[in-house]
Symmetry: C2
Subunit: 394 residues, 2 copies
């Protein structure tokens, strides 16, 4: 109810408020070397730290209090891209009131956007824009109304006879259906690729990667939870995708409803889900992408779903023998895409790299993509999407 | 990356986790009498309180710590509906990691949904659903890309020749374009009204109610900011609506682009903006709704924009004489709708009630709506919308 005219905040050293800040908030502030200044007013606090995603550095970073009761710290230069972060205020992890929050770690979490010089592929540009639509659909599998976010490409409404291929694109563990458009900026990546004719116009469907069957106990995902196996974890979601989501999308949008015009990709847990679901349903999907998805070739074993307990990748038996006949696989699958960032934790890099190598040596056609210098974070997945999407439906 | 099977949380007294909780969080928990239990694990904290919107009660409510380091409190019975809230942790206002956040108070803020028995008009039901679309457009006024959220009614895509009237619907101060669909559940209110044929199918456009002209200093809105006047506060946004938003919407959607099929309404600050903009542009709008909008009849005066410094409502001079000729106004304006909750602060109730009475006595046709027992909060505005929308375009 209150209005004032205030000058735009700008620090003396020419650092700039992060694009992820709430309007008017001067911090977090990004310096030219990608170091970041964080502040929090907390006169009564005894200790305040900043902690967050790998790309922020080795933290947590202790903050120091000034005479005014404002704590601050400037962290070392960060990896470019989006990082989750939080304050640890007298031992409790809390969000920064100065930043937007993003659904990650199973809850709303502060985020900070660090620009990457020269990387404009995920910026909003003066090109035709698609829309991102909230689509509610009733799931027979779960008995609940679910929300998917649906990117429709530029021109979708203007060309009411045109039909489009579909990419189903999934978030990671602890995230939700908003991840790809908020943290990932997928809609702008698609807009830019389509505007430059690098990608075919397509519909992108982003669903919530959790599902509990009617009258079953909830399946809980998130840091600190114990082990499971892929079948237990993902079979209800598989049914949602195959029996609820795809029919609803095909009924609601002008799709080309066949396997040659349907792709699925996902990041991290979403990559595991993609391999789990698509390799069961090659009659439904012809394009497959796993972005930093841990390789879990034995779908029945009781093993961590983060790739840390890794068996050698046996192309004959992995994923229930999906790759056992390479020429049959190659004639069926138009794209098998695997990617990882070069500074991700060892279990991701080695597991994904070894699987890609084993598949290639066995004669399976696979596209392997490394994102240089990026971690198990969204900058890796933005680059992945920018590489993957032009390979679809061509 | 982690998966487990966990029983659904349920407290011994049959309280239920709020619908606004993040998945799996047992608190906030709503009791049958609408009292609410909040918890926060903070072993090192010295004091923790809960505070929030008026409907939560007179707080802040001190919490007490158990042997495990978890602080908790059960607040008195709350008003039904959506309430913003936060913890005060050693003097710092922080969000509850167990709840979704909602943009309010100029930042991401925890929210708790308290059911209202028998009120199903804002629930998602098994009826045809519209979509909520994120629409980006370039504003010449501000020089920036802006995002509007656009509700398209059920059947919009299936009937590509049909054209629809448009309601522009604005949030309050400190909120943003997401407020009406997240806090307000406007899409479900519309779906339900349209399904029961109580309302005409329509497009609803929700924009971000802040604008700064190119190369001008930012206009800051939010609690604690000093005074302004309506012209200073809202003229840039007026230009965005008239010159940028409406042309973009009319170019992108199958609207009926004339005044008889265009409405504007808003809550609180959005109500002020609605009166400010529509009364300047009766060639553009035929339907006007101000929901708990402070009455600020002198657009040039330096006065608080919350209705606290109220002059008598002179129908001859208010709003630059817009009501000076009641019969001319009545023949031009199809609906002038004013509403307020009966437990809102005095300046809202009295200001709005007096204006409605003065207008009626002067012969201006006005619809005045009171929401019984609700505060300057979203339950008032949900009810308002449910009353207002059926009166549009009929």
């Amino acid at each position: 109810m209150i209005v004032e005219v205030a000058p735009t905040a700008r620090a003396a050293d020419q650092s700039s408020p992060a694009a992820s800040n709430v309007p008017g908030a001067p911090t977090p502030s990004i310096h030219a070397d990608r170091s970041i200044t964080f502040t929090l007013k907390a006169p009564e606090a005894r200790t305040v730290q900043v902690a967050g995603g790998d790309g922020l550095g080795a933290g947590p970073f202790p903050m120091t209090k000034d005479a005014d009761g404002t704590w601050s710290v400037t962290t070392p230069p960060a990896v470019a891209g989006f990082h989750y972060y939080w304050f640890v205020l007298d031992g409790v992890s809390v969000n920064d009131p100065s930043s937007e929050t993003f659904f990650g770690y199973g809850k709303e979490t502060s985020g900070v956007e660090v620009p990457e010089p020269g990387a404009d592929y995920y910026a909003i540009a003066d090109v035709p824009h698609g829309e991102v639509r909230a689509k509610w659909y009733l799931s027979k599998t779960t008995g609940e109304w679910r929300r998917a976010l649906v990117y429709t490409p530029p021109g979708y409404d203007k060309n009411p006879k045109d039909r489009y291929p579909v990419l189903i694109l999934q978030h990671g563990s602890g995230e939700d259906e908003t991840g790809w458009t908020r943290q990932g900026r997928a809609q702008f990546i698609l807009d830019n690729l389509i505007a430059s004719a690098k990608a075919a116009p397509m519909i992108v469907v982003m669903d919530r990667g959790y599902a509990t069957r009617v009258a079953s106990p909830a399946v809980k995902f998130g840091p600190g939870s114990p082990l499971g196996n892929a079948k237990l974890a993902f079979s209800a979601f598989e049914d949602v995708i195959i029996h609820d989501l795809i029919p609803s999308i095909d009924a609601s949008y002008r799709t080309i409803p066949d396997r040659e015009h349907r792709a699925m990709a996902g990041l991290s847990m979403g990559g595991m889900q993609t391999l789990f679901i698509t390799l069961h349903h090659l009659d439904t999907f012809a394009y497959i992408g796993s972005l930093s998805g841990p390789i879990v070739p034995d779908l029945d074993s009781k093993q961590p779903l983060d790739g840390t307990h890794r068996a050698p990748f046996d192309t004959k038996t992995a994923y229930e023998g999906a790759f056992a006949n390479p020429s049959a696989f190659n004639s069926r699958v138009k794209l098998l895409w695997l990617g990882v960032g070069t500074v991700e934790p060892e279990q991701f890099r080695t597991g994904i790299g070894e699987a890609a190598l084993a598949l290639e040596e066995a004669g399976v056609r696979v596209t392997y993509f490394e994102s240089k210098g990026t971690a198990h974070e969204w900058q890796t997945w933005r680059r992945d999407l920018n590489d993957l999407v032009p390979r679809l439906f061509r």
